[in-house]
Structures are given as C-alpha cells and as structure tokens.
C-alpha cells in the first residue's frame, strides 16, 4: 500500500459527497429521543436540577472539578430560570426534529443536554452519554440538508432544486465511529472479566433485581443458555464494533444488532439506552436503500388509499 492510496481512501471515506438522507433521518430520531428523555424527566426536573435538588451545584463542583460546558453555572440559581432552561431545551429539540434553524438548534440542544448531564452526572447512564456524544458531532453535520423545514424554505426561495445535493459525510462518519467504538470498547471491557470469558456473567446480570423487566422464559436461565448468551453478547459486540465497516456483512450484523437490543429491552430495565443506540443504525444504511424503502412505503400507502376510495 502506498501513502497516496491511504490518503485517497481517507478522502473517499470522509469527504466523497454522499446523500445527507441518513444523517437527516438520524436528526429526526435523535430529536425525538431527546424529547422523550426530557418528558420522562419532566416530573423530576427540579428534583434533580433545582435549587433544592438531591445534589447541589456546589457539591457537584466540589466532586467533579474543572471547567465544564454547563449553562447552569451561567443562569441565576432559582427554580424559575432552571425550569425555563428546560422549556427552551424542549422547544429547541422540537425545532431540531422538524429541521428548522437546524444548525443553531443542534448547537443549542447539545449545550442544554451537556449542561443537564454536567449538572448531575450521578444520574446519567450509557444512553445519555451516547446522546451527548452524537449531539456533539451532529452540530457539524448537514443534518438539515434533507427532510427538513430548512430545505422547504430553501426550495421556496429558489435556492435549491428538487434533488438533494450530496455533501461530505465526515461528521456522520464520526457518529458512526462513536457507535462502533461503543461496541468495541464494551467488548474489550468484557473480555477482561472472567465471568464473561467463562460464560457465567449473564447468570448474575439476569438475577439483579433492579434490572428485571419482563419475566425471563425459563430455558434462557439454563446454564448452557446463559453461557451461550454471554458468549453471543461478546461476539455481537465485537462484530458491531469492527465487521460493521465491511459492506458485505453490514446489514446482517445490523439485523442481529437490532434483535440483540430488542432482547435487552425485553429482559433488562435499562430505559432508553437501546433506542438511543438503535437510532444511530440508520447512519449505516445506504441512502439508496433508504430511498427505496421510502418509495416502497409510499407505494403501499398509495395502494391502500386507492383501495379505500
């Protein structure tokens, strides 16, 4: 391999213009997930972030030192301002979802999201972390270039035609990279633990009361199945972190990943994590396939409408 061919591969991967459809669909899913997260938190906004919350701002500063992007340190410390920040956040996430002033709102959503996490890091989990990281890179992506109000406005003003212009996907690649790294890093952590290698890890996980969701079918609790399950989790996390980049394997691995997360959603109580991660799968789907899927859905809807009339 020559240095030049390596440079060309880098350029092709990060800069060869691609349809912004996947990143635009991700923007919609991302916005919806942020809205759901905020609404689930709604009864406890002041419980966790108010002036008389479980963890005070000063305790947070004492425990988690260093300068941080945190709007809570700028706004006046009273509950009205804190609630206002949440309403602004919710409004901004809604605008991001529909794609109005997309760039500005992606920045504002990231700022608000990182602020509420920095304000109380002790209640954040993996799904929140992934939303924060994806949100950071979404700021740089052409997320409003398709399926957005911004695009409709540009078309109306004659600045854009019917076809969506391809854009360099480097920011989308960084979110894809972050997702693959999440899996690969999980795999690396797990193989360092004897219970995962020996296949006993799931026995403990499934018997943690706080994580119980729905009743587990008894065959899944047999030692052989627990072993297989532990090893399959390792194999899947490795594949989702590495083989996902190989086009020939991608859709098979993504399908297995969907089944994996749906199983976790059924069996374990880890709210939102599965959906936060699954939303990013759309970034790995080829734009042409997304267009085909959309045409197929439209065709089906049209046929149904004709049948009704």
């Amino acid at each position: 391999m020559r240095l030049k061919s390596l440079g060309d591969a880098w350029n092709a991967f990060f800069f060869a213009p691609k349809s912004p459809l996947p990143i635009a669909l991700f923007r919609i899913l991302y916005g919806l997930l942020v809205i759901i997260t905020l609404l689930l938190l709604r009864p406890d906004w002041l419980t966790w972030f108010g002036t008389h919350s479980w963890v005070s701002l000063s305790t947070m500063h004492a425990l988690e030192r260093g300068p941080r992007l945190n709007l809570f340190t700028i706004i006046p410390q009273n509950d009205t301002w804190i609630e206002a920040l949440f309403w602004i956040f919710l409004a901004s996430a809604s605008l991001l979802t529909v794609g109005l002033f997309t760039r500005f709102n992606s920045l504002l959503v990231f700022l608000c999201l990182t602020s509420i996490q920095q304000r109380n890091l002790y209640i954040t989990s993996g799904g929140d972390t992934f939303l924060r990281l994806a949100g950071f890179f979404l700021i740089f992506a052409p997320a409003g270039a398709a399926v957005s109000v911004d695009r409709l406005i540009r078309i109306r003003r004659g600045k854009e035609g019917d076809s969506v212009l391809p854009r360099p996907p480097w920011a989308q690649r960084l979110i894809q990279f972050e997702l693959a790294l999440l899996y690969f890093s999980s795999f690396c952590w797990k193989v360092q633990g004897a219970p995962w290698v020996q296949g006993t890890a799931l026995y403990y996980v499934y018997h943690l009361d706080e994580f119980h969701r729905f009743p587990m079918p008894s065959p899944f609790l047999r030692p052989t199945m627990l072993k297989l399950g532990s090893w399959m989790a390792l194999a899947l996390e490795f594949s989702l972190g590495t083989l996902i980049w190989i086009k020939e394997f991608r859709y098979t691995i993504l399908s297995l990943g969907v089944l994996f997360h749906l199983w976790l959603e059924y069996s374990l109580n880890i709210p939102m994590f599965e959906w936060d991660v699954l939303a990013a799968y759309v970034l790995f789907i080829e734009p042409e396939d997304l267009t085909h899927a959309w045409s197929w859905i439209r065709g089906r809807v049209a046929v149904k409408a004709l049948q009704r009339s």
Binding site: R132, G193, Y203, D209
Partner: protein, 190 residues
C-alpha cells in the same frame, strides 16, 4: 476514487479558504478519532495514559468523556437497595425508601430509572461527598411541622447472588449497614 472525492488536482486548485477548511477538518478528525479511542478503550499503556491526561481538560469541558463498561469486567454479584432512617426531634422515627425498580410498574421504571442510577452511585464510597446532600434532601422530604427531623441515617441492604451450576437461583441472607449519619441543621429544612 469515487466521483466527487476531492483529488490532488482539485485540492491544488481549491481556493485558499477551502484549503484551510479542508486542513482544519482533517486535524479535527484525526484528533478526535485518536483521542476518543485512547479515552474509551481499556488500554493500560503509559503513552496512552499520558495522552489521556493531555486531552482530559478538553474532554471534561466539552462532554466528550465516556466509558462503556456496563456489567464489565465483572457484573455486580449482589442485590442491594438504600433506605433512610429518619429520627424526629420528639424521638419518633420512620423508615424512608428510595424507589426500588423491582417494585415499580414497567412505565414507572422508565420514569424513575434516574433513582436506580443515583442509588448505585450513592452506595459507592468514592462518592461519599454526595451523602450530606442526600441526607438533607431526605430531611426536607420528611419534614413535619410539629416535629422536624433531627437525624438521618443512610442504610444499605444487600444480598449476595449465589453461583449455581443448575438452572436454579439462590440468594444469600439480607444484610444491612448504616453507612452515614447526618445531624440535621435548621437551615437544611429551608
């Protein structure tokens, strides 16, 4: 090279501003891919540790810090939950429980998941700095005008998950420990 990829000739002919933009984006990409990998992967190497320390202020400031070690390397082997003993000024007492996920409905678990995470951190000695705030919050929740809370005790209850080789499940006996006692001050109740 795919159509549309800026080739060497195109880049040579690009305007100076475009060249600068291309250069800056490449630096941004290289730095973030390298830094995030070094941060997130569990690699124990002095060079990687120094690099982590170098990027730490930026990661902490921007929110790029991350860790993907759920249930690993070893999953938790005990079931545990927290309670608080509230002793009032008149000598009476009450037991206050944190929301326990296993006792909530599926919908409630979605909304109250933050409590599970918070309890998990509260049990960790590394975060003992959280205990006075938590005790004060519980005191405010249990404030009675006739007799305000005088003392709050944080209690952890735990039971081991006993390993078995068949498909049965055994848990050990429940143990408990008062890990923090707080004397409530009048200003804590405001």
């Amino acid at each position: 090279m795919p159509a549309g990829t800026p080739g060497p000739t195109q880049r040579r002919n690009a305007r100076p501003l475009e060249k600068v933009k291309y250069f800056v984006i490449n630096v941004f990409l290289l730095f973030h891919i390298l830094a995030i990998s070094c941060w997130a992967l569990p690699l124990n190497n002095p060079l990687i540790s120094s690099f982590r320390n170098l990027v730490r202020p930026y990661f902490i400031w921007s929110g790029l810090f991350q860790s993907w070690d759920m249930f690993s390397p070893d999953p938790k082997r005990v079931n545990s939950y927290l309670e608080a003993i509230v002793i009032y000024k008149d000598g009476t007492s009450t037991l206050w429980s944190f929301p326990r996920m296993e006792l909530l409905s599926a919908n409630e678990r979605y909304a109250k998941e933050r409590y599970r995470k918070f309890e998990e951190n509260l049990q960790n000695d590394q975060y003992s700095g959280l205990w006075p705030d938590a005790a004060r919050y519980i005191a405010r929740l249990n404030n009675q005008k006739t007799s305000p809370p005088k003392t709050i005790m944080l209690v952890v209850r735990w039971s081991e998950i006993i390993p078995r080789t068949d498909d049965k499940y055994d848990r050990g006996p429940w143990n408990s420990n008062i890990f923090f006692t707080y004397d409530v001050q009048p200003e804590d109740l405001k």
